[in-house]
């Protein structure tokens, strides 16, 4: 149930952000870089390299279609010398995938951070009542998980439902595993169990 709510919130936020942003970031471009005009002309004042970005189809992404229309009046007859030195590249990207992925990453990290804060701050308080009724497996040195026989014995608790019991039991088992891993890595400095 929690999963469905989270997915719902996620989809709604995606749609909202999609509506706000205008489509000013296209997905295709033709990027041409040319040396400065002073390399072919003697009396021009420009000394900077030229970079032009335009949205043209892939086959038209070359010097004649992109650069020439801009500087046709300046170059006047020396096009054949200038064009070979320009480098034109056609590039393609997908902004919607990038948007989706970044929002997904932000969500996942925030969820993990929230869960971590929950475990640090609130969990000891909540579980003080519950822990008293669970027997914990203290046999952490044992490599063997006896599947048939394992598990702390669950006392029948009249008020709580079985689902909550199972979730709590799973969480405890996971916490036990993490504690054991942590003991391995940080205390004994080994990955072996």
């Amino acid at each position: 149930m929690w999963n469905k709510i989270l997915i719902g919130i996620f989809i709604i936020s995606m749609v909202e952000t999609g509506l706000h942003v205008e489509a000013q970031y296209e997905d295709k471009r033709c990027k041409c870089i040319c040396p400065s005009l002073s390399s072919v002309l003697n009396n021009t004042k420009e000394t900077e390299r030229m970079m032009v970005i335009e949205n043209v189809p892939r086959l038209k992404c070359d010097c004649e279609n992109v650069i020439m229309p801009r500087i046709a009046d300046k170059i006047k007859g020396k096009e054949r010398e200038f064009c070979p030195r320009c480098q034109c590249k056609f590039e393609n990207r997908n902004t919607s995938i990038i948007k989706f992925v970044v929002i997904l990453v932000i969500w996942v990290i925030s969820l993990l951070v929230v869960y971590m804060l929950f475990l640090i701050c609130l969990d000891p308080l909540l579980n003080k009542r519950v822990k008293a009724n669970y027997q914990e497996h203290t046999n952490e040195e044992d490599d063997v998980t006896l599947s048939g026989v394992a598990g702390p014995s669950v006392h029948p608790m009249g008020a709580r439902s079985n689902v909550l019991n199972r979730v709590g039991h799973q969480q405890d088992k996971w916490k036990r595993q993490v504690r054991e891993q942590r003991k391995n890595i940080y205390d004994r400095h080994t990955m072996l169990n």
Binding site: E26, S39, P84, L112, Q177, Y186
Partner: protein, 711 residues
């Protein structure tokens, strides 16, 4: 055996036929799913990491999900800038100041450090809180797992999530680490999780290793965009057994993963190669000499790195530093951020720096490194050789500084308690070294064109020395020196760069680097970490001593061998035996006097069987006799007997006491044994376990035999 059963039943009915077909192609389906998911995860991580890296520099307010390069993608400003454009706001701008100036520099320095610390702290605490197994590179442990050892929880789903997120955060924090080693771990986690969907692989550890090998190949394939290199890496470095079937599966898995990541297109450049370079000039014969020199240097640097890193990791393991992992991560990040911000080359992302060093100077490079006195007068020729301007010398000094800084920082960074890898830092160090050598050679060729080595091919106006190519060779050499890979390294290098012409030079450099590295220090970085952590990994080096099996076996002179008899021990006896000794398994003999071998039984199976019996069989008591034979005993007074023939392995591998240890080690390696029984004249004499073999090897090599840990 399950497979044979299913295949036999194919003829019986249509349902069984479908089950047979499902069993046959379940391997391919599993590997397909693993490849697809690995490609997706890698694409997500690439995009996420490149976004977060640029977050340290500024933000794009209109579309916050774009990094700097993507934000300035369609900007129509026709002048060059250092990558900034009007839509990209640096942090000083957001705070209200202008973009330039001394105050802006300090503000951006401050924010850079702050974001780096934030990412690193988040990464370290996530690892500590949720999945401590997600720290480190993962390749040494995967090697151990694939050699037969089981580490529970190492390839679980929490490890997967935390490792992916932690890797993104660590890379974005600007630390000196790469993401290739952890990608292998992530891919193996995915392989492990998916193998549980298919009972053919989920329940059989040996078959699951096929999937894990294939997944490791997919991991390298997506990390570098090098599918064939990935398969060879899995073959050479990671896997222990690699039959042809695994080769096919890995090939397929790497192919699918590369295809998926290519369609996600995280870098926006339509190439699945990371550092795509296109050199048009062939290399001159004399280039071989600097290539060999770079190989020697690469091997030396690799050894220095390995020794330094091992020393620091050992220090971290045995001193109080190991108790403060998060603090250590934060300190290293602070030092890294403070040192790397001022130098423009270290401020760049490591991959971007490598790309810059690999690329040829041309019209589109405005960096100091390409500040040559070129006039571009002759339109029809290629970029010609020219004298270096002052910018080049400035760049060389900065690069030398960057090299020293990176070498020292990577020694301290690799092995920290965050996900970290070391392919990219090694490539970076090598690229810096190679580029400097290349610029030196180029200037030599420009100033002395009449010397015989340059005379033929370097006629005036031509361009025969390409510093970018030397950077590539240097990168290959240092990576080879650190990891001691050979074929997989060459294939990865030419798949990374697209430079197939230069294979001979790369091979020469890699070979020299491996020879020099092996002469200076025997182990590559991964084997050294395996030895440091005491994993029970049986290496592939030859065993060159002449000891016999009798010298190594347990029990030693003054101990007795713990055996179980086949029909005269009670449950009480067995439970006492299990409590008093801590062996992993026990041989079963006909009787204590004859010591004729029947079979071998594992501790785990004994425990399980006894527990089950206590619950299931009525009337069982601690005085019940345990039978490992198939014949039911006639007597019916007293408690009912416990028949445990099912758990007995009746075909244990045995050797005689005079077998040379060379053969025994070979058998352990090739058959993947955990123990073998030693007999003399047909009677059981003792047991040799893998731990004993490892201890013996270490003793023979005069190393400390007590460092071998085992569960």
């Amino acid at each position: 055996m399950r497979h044979r059963y299913i295949v036999k039943k194919i003829q019986y009915s249509v349902w069984d036929f479908i089950k047979g077909a499902h069993d046959a192609w379940s391997g391919w389906v599993c590997v397909l799913l693993v490849g697809v998911v690995t490609g997706c995860v890698a694409g997500v991580m690439d995009i996420g990491a490149s976004w977060m890296t640029d977050l340290k520099l500024g933000i794009c307010p209109q579309a916050f999900w774009l990094n700097r390069e993507q934000c300035c993608w369609s900007s129509n400003e026709t002048t060059f800038d250092s990558g900034n454009c009007s839509q990209w706001y640096t942090w000083p701008e957001i705070m209200g100041h202008s973009r330039e100036g001394g105050f802006a520099y300090f503000v951006s320095f401050f924010f850079y450090t702050l974001w780096a610390l934030f990412f690193a702290a988040l990464s370290a605490s996530l690892v500590k809180m949720f999945a401590p197994y997600a720290c480190g590179s993962g390749i040494p442990e995967i090697k151990t797992i694939l050699s037969g050892f089981i580490i529970r929880g190492y390839l679980g789903k929490w490890t997967l999530i935390v490792k992916s997120v932690g890797l993104m955060l660590s890379v974005s924090a600007g630390l000196c680490l790469g993401k290739e080693g952890p990608m292998v771990h992530i891919a193996s986690c995915i392989g492990n999780i998916f193998s549980y969907l298919f009972p053919k692989y989920g329940k059989n550890e040996a078959k699951k290793r096929e999937i894990l090998s294939a997944a490791a190949a997919a991991g390298v394939s997506v990390a570098f965009g090098a599918p064939i290199g990935g398969v060879l890496f899995s073959l050479e470095e990671v896997s222990y057994y690699f039959p042809l079937k695994t080769l096919w599966r890995s090939f397929f898995c790497a192919l699918i993963a590369a295809f998926v990541i290519r369609s996600i297109n995280p870098f926006g450049n339509e190439h699945s190669v990371l550092f795509y370079v296109k050199y048009n000039e062939p290399w001159i014969l004399f280039d071989l000499v600097p290539a060999l020199a770079l190989g020697i240097l690469g091997g030396a640097i690799g050894t220095v790195f390995i020794k330094g890193n091992l020393y620091w990791c050992r220090f971290r393991k045995f001193s109080k530093l190991g108790h403060y992992p998060v603090t250590e991560v934060l300190t290293v990040t602070l030092i890294t951020a403070v040192i790397s911000y001022p130098n423009p080359y270290t401020r760049l992302n490591m991959s971007q720096l490598i790309y810059l060093l690999f690329s040829q100077c041309g019209i589109s490079n405005s960096d100091d490194l390409c500040d040559y006195n070129r006039n571009f007068t002759n339109v029809n020729s290629a970029v010609e050789i020219a004298a270096a301007g002052p910018g080049v010398y400035r760049a060389i000094w900065l690069l030398i500084l960057a090299f020293i800084v990176y070498l020292i920082l990577t020694i301290f960074t690799f092995g920290m308690k965050v996900p970290c890898g070391l392919f990219i830092p090694s490539l970076c160090l090598g690229a810096i070294m190679g580029r400097i050598v290349g610029i030196g050679m180029e200037q030599l060729a420009y100033n002395y064109p009449e010397v015989w080595i340059f005379a033929d091919e370097c006629s005036k106006g031509g361009n025969c020395i390409n510093p970018g190519l030397y950077a590539m060779i240097g990168a290959c050499a240092v990576l080879g020196g650190v990891t001691r890979m050979t074929i997989s390294l060459i294939v990865i290098m030419f798949e990374l760069t697209g430079g197939v012409r230069y294979i001979v030079l790369l091979m020469a450099a890699a070979m020299t680097s491996k020879w020099v590295g092996d002469a200076l220090g025997r182990q590559g970085i991964y084997d050294a970490h395996i030895a440091l952590n005491g994993y029970p990994f049986l290496g592939k080096e030859e065993f060159a001593h002449t000891t016999l099996a009798a010298d190594v076996m347990q029990p030693k002179r003054n101990e007795t061998l713990s055996v179980i008899t086949q029909d005269s021990m009670t449950i009480d006896d067995i439970v006492n035996l299990l409590k008093e000794t801590e062996h992993n398994g026990y041989p079963v003999v006909v009787s204590k006097e004859s010591q004729y071998l029947v079979g071998f039984v594992l501790r785990r199976d004994l425990n399980l069987a006894i527990e089950n019996a206590k619950r299931m069989i009525d009337g069982i008591s601690v005085m019940s006799v345990v039978y490992f034979t198939s014949a039911t005993p006639a007597q019916s007074l007293g408690p009912p007997p416990l028949m445990l023939k099912k758990i007995l392995d009746m075909a244990p591998i045995t050797v005689t006491d005079q077998t040379p240890m060379e053969t025994v080690v070979d058998m352990f390696r090739k058959l993947g044994l955990r123990q073998t029984l030693v007999t003399h004249n047909g009677r059981l004499l003792g047991v040799i376990t893998k731990k004993d073999v490892l201890r013996h090897i270490k003793q023979m090599d005069n190393e400390d035999p007590n460092t071998v840990l085992f569960n």
